[in-house]
Symmetry: D2
Subunit: 337 residues, 4 copies
């Protein structure tokens, strides 16, 4: 890392930083510029070193050189990770589609949707059983009953079940029914939950928090990878910005950026990413063109009667059309869909 | 709430919305404008009604009229809530100061700081024992050992202990040592944790998530209030914006806005809010002038050697100066400090 | 528009608002809800009415129902606008590509690029002659000399020239050489410039300001449309958010949103939108899949030697590949490219 | 500046960068770390060098060390700039207050307000004559007539007139009446306007653009300073973020940050910064506590009848109270008010 000294830093300040660098087990290298002195600290990156140095007297700032994550990095693992569960294949050339309702609402609802998205070409079934809701007065999900219904839908269709887990103490329960554990955007930095999900050994779909940077997101993935679980999918679902014509802002440049930075597959959720049914299918196409390894899309047989987020759910017909369009775009960019 | 129909909405669409409104147990009231029709839905607010209506055919948008929270609202409770624990008084004219290190690092460190902040006029002691860290490679706190040290510092100084709890299953443990449970910004929407903290019966300090709106924050508080626990403090600690010269952007207008909206006291954390020691004391003064009910400030006897966030910690001398300045500003705006 | 009264609003407050609404030439319609009273103000929208009402005593907020722009709206003009200049066709099913260097740097540079992008399939040539630069110490463009070189490149290639105009007093000069006047992001709300550009009668490419909402952008377009000039293209070039791994955040949902809202064509600039050459081509593809009516892309024969923004310029080879990829994606989504 | 090479950068890439650095007239200094090589480029900063280097093959990023502005920097000029016009003193220990209506609306309105704010202790009179309005259908100001009225108000009260100029060709006209030229937020990066304002020799109040970084803002100031005009005030008026309970987010940490970075005085505009009359006075107090060198506040004798922005105007009574409160806070923080 590079320690930039203030213009007026004295030799005493510089000597002190050199001493601190060496105490931290790093080597120092001083460069005297025309207006400022900078000091490089060489050696393997050690967390905490940056913080220790930037509080030194006479220091203006400390610029890290290495990325803070390791196991998620393409520098550590060059070949791309593919997550495979039942017939769902996400990554390394394959675009996997996970579709279904926001919440599991009833047996007939989830079975109907499961058959429908299966026929349209999806390989994963989404559906919330434990629902984190902004308001305590909103529908909170069917909980274990919902998990049982998802498992029944899987038995009938062969779809891989992807459902959210909200607390470490629920991991065993949810993991007993689900093929993939979903970590929601609100919990991206819930570290006890990340560790518990990692230790389950199940594939994990990690949604981006609405104000998370790439480093924060990849470090959250690192919490899972550190448990030895390598089956991690990143899911871009939109960030919070000043834009108010969409629910969130969907920054698709995330996809190619991450594909240069990490070996983990990147899924895009255009339903939350836009929050408007009329924009979802178009953004799904754009996500495929941007190279997404997967899509996660909300579909409901009757969006108007959905118990949650109906405004961003596609109807069955719209979903079928979206799948046909995405298949053509995937072919145009050389992906299996 | 108000349902705004699209310009081309047909009578059939309008009739359908009226029917839906009535099915939801609300009364409808149609207003035909020069260019559009709007339909008011009257009755007590029911969550889910907005979503159900906005997916209706011919609907452009649905505008809610009532705030989504209830128990946190000044409409429900006019007199201001004061949180009182030991000598710490936050709210209703009293500005309470909670100070201490980012993390508890050692017995000598926490005892030294506790005495120091006590003498300077603080009534609460902060210090992390369970630390949520962005990187899994960072210092994660002393855990239960840290809690014991905080309790020892309290025994010596009488300060109220404020420390973070990260998971529902830790609430009993942390609550056994701490006077106030702190919910960190990353966990603002960790609903199982909010409920468990609420049920502990201890006062809760709820930090704002870095991209949370006022409604989302107050609804998170509502999760706690719903358990019957009324001792909730809101803590503004900065939001994530495009600004990069500070760690977060500290929006002090939050303070007067919340004081018009909720009866809960509002604490400001200028340490995280700026992320730069050189800006903390000035923003603490500004927060008091803005009417803050409390301050939460990081202080470390030797910031350069801190195991976490030293760059935003005040030295003991700077903290004493800050307290003197804040006391004068508090007097100027008619507050007890 | 809908005036929402505060919970405690008195009959006197309500009567006053009714009186004000009528003074403004609108009709009032009172709806008494269970907790609040709302008053609809009916009639043709009149700017200023919202502001006048929301300062009234007892008023909580005023919710507008109608969009603030008129001429840009699909409600006023259903058929889609196509901008046609020389062989450049933007909109209504045609994807037009405008490519070239950030700045015109020399005769050989601009002529070389012009031939190159022409052969790869572009129909418009970009290149800055008057350059708005963040720093006064940066290269400010060749000014009139640059315009002459652009005109020479046009004479040789037939490409339509698109170049920026920075001040009303330059409109005549720039308009004497350019086929399209570009209004840069920094000047999106430079109203004297918008009016002068509109009055030139030339097609105008209006870039989105980095923190402009859709309404602000469309109202800026409205300033041009009001002069009687209907040849306006909107250009999305990224917004400013907390993301720092890209220069700006490119929100492609803008494209389908605008296509539902306005009849004006929407161009996407993935060069500024990402600020990284390695992301540009992928985002160009994604923009086409999102339905963009045009692309604006920076190309430089030797990006490393560019006098401005080389880091986001494609090499000729990368541009040719991008065009081939975009052509396939355009076919997949049924667009002429 | 520091060039960080990619992990796999070859010796050929490194040699090429060294050559480029020397071509740019800088000295190179190579540091081989455990995982990457970084190359320092030493010498006086030259704009364009960063861009030239970051497009080099094998380069990951280029980290600048020096601030991009010069004349605005405290490194170049240590003593603080005070802007003095008539009785208005802004900076270097003096808090100057500029108050008045959003727009000049009539002779009686501006004269009434001028006397009123004078009596309450303001030394500057604001009031728009040329109004940049988001919508072309909004009131655009009285133009030259408004300027004449401002001059008449000055003749009666001795207040310094501060009014906005929107285009280079208006500088002479506006400068003929106004004591200070205001550059609005929308025009912060309108460089021809900045240069024309600078050349007028009049003091300039430069508002921050709603998405401008500190560097961009100070570089805009640099455009003015470069003309030889040293009388520049910076005015923080809020930034655009995801927050929607205020019109903009007012980041008061700007004040102490700038006071460490630049010698130019910093004015705060709590009217635009909050967009709500009920928050303005509190944030004015907070701004003074944060060390602001000046305040710019909207006051209207009858906000409900204002032709623009009445929702954020203080009534005369509220303004008098604000002045009394700010005076006490200024005394508490050792400022002349």
């Amino acid at each position: 890392m590079i320690v930039v000294m203030k213009p007026g830093a004295s030799q005493r300040h510089i000597d002190h930083i050199i001493e601190r660098i060496e105490q931290l087990g790093l080597r120092s290298h001083v460069i005297v510029g025309t207006e400022r002195t900078v000091i490089a600290a060489l050696g393997e990156k050690r967390d905490g070193a940056k913080q220790a140095l930037e509080t030194g007297e006479g220091v203006e700032k400390v610029v890290p050189i290495l990325a803070p994550y390791k196991m998620a990095s393409t520098e550590v693992k060059q070949d791309r990770t593919q997550v495979t569960v039942r017939q769902l294949r996400v990554g390394d050339g394959h675009v996997g589609v996970i579709a279904g309702p926001c919440s599991v609402e009833s047996r007939s609802q989830i079975l109907e949707i499961a058959h429908l998205v299966r026929e349209a070409g999806a390989a994963g079934l989404r559906g919330g059983a434990f629902k984190p809701r902004t308001s305590p007065y909103s529908f909170q999900g069917l909980k274990e009953k919902g998990l049982e219904l998802l498992a029944e839908a899987r038995a009938q269709t062969g779809l891989a079940v992807v459902t959210e887990v909200m607390a470490p103490e629920h991991v065993a329960l949810v993991g007993g029914y689900s093929d993939v554990l979903q970590i929601g955007a609100r919990n991206m930095q819930n570290y006890p939950l990340l560790e518990a999900a990692g230790e389950s050994g199940l594939p994990v779909l990690l949604k981006r928090g609405p104000s998370a940077t790439m480093d924060e997101w990849l470090l959250a993935a690192e919490y899972i990878l550190k448990t030895g679980n390598t089956q991690v999918m990143l899911c871009e679902r939109g960030i919070r910005t000043f834009e108010d014509h969409t629910r969130f802002t969907l920054p698709l440049a995330t996809v190619p950026y991450l594909q240069q930075t990490t070996h983990l597959p990147v899924v895009v959720d255009p339903s939350h990413g836009t929050g408007k049914a009329s924009l979802v299918a178009t953004m799904a196409r754009a996500a495929v063109a941007a190279g997404a390894d997967g899509l996660m899309v909300e579909v409901h047989p009757d969006p108007e009667k959905a118990l949650s987020d109906g405004f961003q759910a596609l109807t069955p017909t719209a979903f079928q059309q979206m799948m046909a369009d995405c298949r053509r775009v995937a072919a145009a960019v050389g992906r299996q869909f």
